[in-house]
Each structure stands twice: as structure tokens, then as C-alpha cells.
Symmetry: C2
Subunit: 94 residues, 2 copies
DNA sequence: CAAACATTATGTTATATTACCAAATAACCA
DNA sequence: TGGTTATTTGGTAATATAACATAATGTTTG
């Protein structure tokens, strides 16, 4: 007999939700090879600084990425390599 | 230099988006051990048949699950075991 | 074939997300 | 210090999603 607890999967679902946006997923993929700065993302994606910043905040809140302020710039990187395995899994099926 | 193609990650992001809802993620977890029928989910979650069916359709469209009609019921199962590795990765970090 | 059951589709409303702008904050340099 | 660059925050409008009720479709079984 299956048993559902509403609060059970909320936090975990949030990680997937964070990855569930084309721009955010792209950002995560770029971080696979190493850290990047916010301005690089802004230049490549071609949206407002604030939009990228908001996407980064969502990924950070979900625990997928972490940041590091050096000089004038903020650099982001993945918190854990298993994220990459997840990407591989999804790439294989699409 | 980073390069962003808008259509690039859309389909892959859709897989994550499908998993990014508490009820849908719970459903996927239940399928980890083997197939289940729609009516089992409805009974456990306590929402409308149509709501569960809609969630299942989203997961199916994303390619995460597949269905199999036998007798009066429709049984769902995961399309690929690597989904489970993704769940493990996320569980470890939450 | 028709009744009964299981699932899907449609329309609607409440809520959540997205992206932009403008303003605030922070770090460096002249 | 004052100016410039890099980033975050808050407000807002357009769009997307979620959940429900109800209607429609499809299958099995009598």
C-alpha cells in the first residue's frame, strides 16, 4: 500500500525544479568544466543582469551551485559532481 | 567564450521540470521498486483522478515513465534506471 | 451490444514564474 | 573621496502551472 506525505518530496522536488528551466540548465552545464562569473552568463544569454542573477539565486537556494566573490566579480561553481551524472542521464534520453 | 542557444536545453530542462513537483517526484519514487497502477496513486495522494492522470501525462511526455495497459488498469513504470541514480544524488544533498 | 470502470481532455480559477526596469549595495581605481 | 563596474533586491506585468469539476473517450466484461 502506497503512502504519501505531502512534505516528503518538497525539498527534493525543488532541486529538480531549479534545473527545470532552459537558461538555468544551460548555466549548470557551463559550470561542468569549472567556475564562471555572472557577467559571462549575461553576455552569452543576452538577458538582463537581474534575470541571470535571479536564476543563479534559485540554483544556489536549491543547493546546486555555490558562489565565491573575488574582486569585483562573483564566480559560481557546482556544489557536487553528481549533478553531471544527472545531466548525462537526461541527455542520453532526449 | 560561452555560447547560448535558446533551443538547446529546452527539452532536457523539461525532464527536470517534470520531476520538479512534489507529487510527481513521489510517484517516480514509488516506481523505483516496480510498476504501479494509476488507481494506487489516486488512493494514496488523495486528489482527483484527473489531477493524478495529468501528472502522469507530464512525466510520460517528458520520457520519464511509460505505461502499459493490462485489463482495466494502466500500469506505469520508469523508462530507465538512471532516474534512480538522479534521485540518490538529490537525496544525498537535501 | 451495453453497463461499469479507468483514464484522458477541456474549461476555469487561483497561484506561481519569468523577465524586465529601476534602485540599492559592494568593490575597485583614479 | 567620487566614479565606475559588477551584482543583488524589490516592484510589476505578462505568462505559465496546478488543481478541480465535468465531459468525453476507451476497455472489459456480462
Amino acid at each position: 500500500m502506497l503512502n504519501y506525505d505531502k512534505t516528503d518530496c518538497r525539498k527534493e522536488a525543488n532541486v529538480f525544479k531549479a534545473l527545470g528551466h532552459p537558461t538555468r540548465l544551460w548555466i549548470v552545464k557551463q559550470l561542468a568544466d569549472g567556475e564562471h562569473c555572472v557577467c559571462e552568463f549575461v553576455a552569452a544569454v543576452g538577458v538582463d543582469f537581474s534575470t541571470i542573477s535571479q536564476h543563479l539565486a534559485i540554483l544556489k537556494r536549491a543547493g546546486v551551485i555555490t558562489d565565491d566573490k573575488r574582486g569585483k566579480s562573483v564566480y559560481y561553481r557546482l556544489t557536487c559532481p553528481c549533478i553531471l551524472a544527472m545531466l548525462d542521464c537526461v541527455e542520453k534520453r532526449t
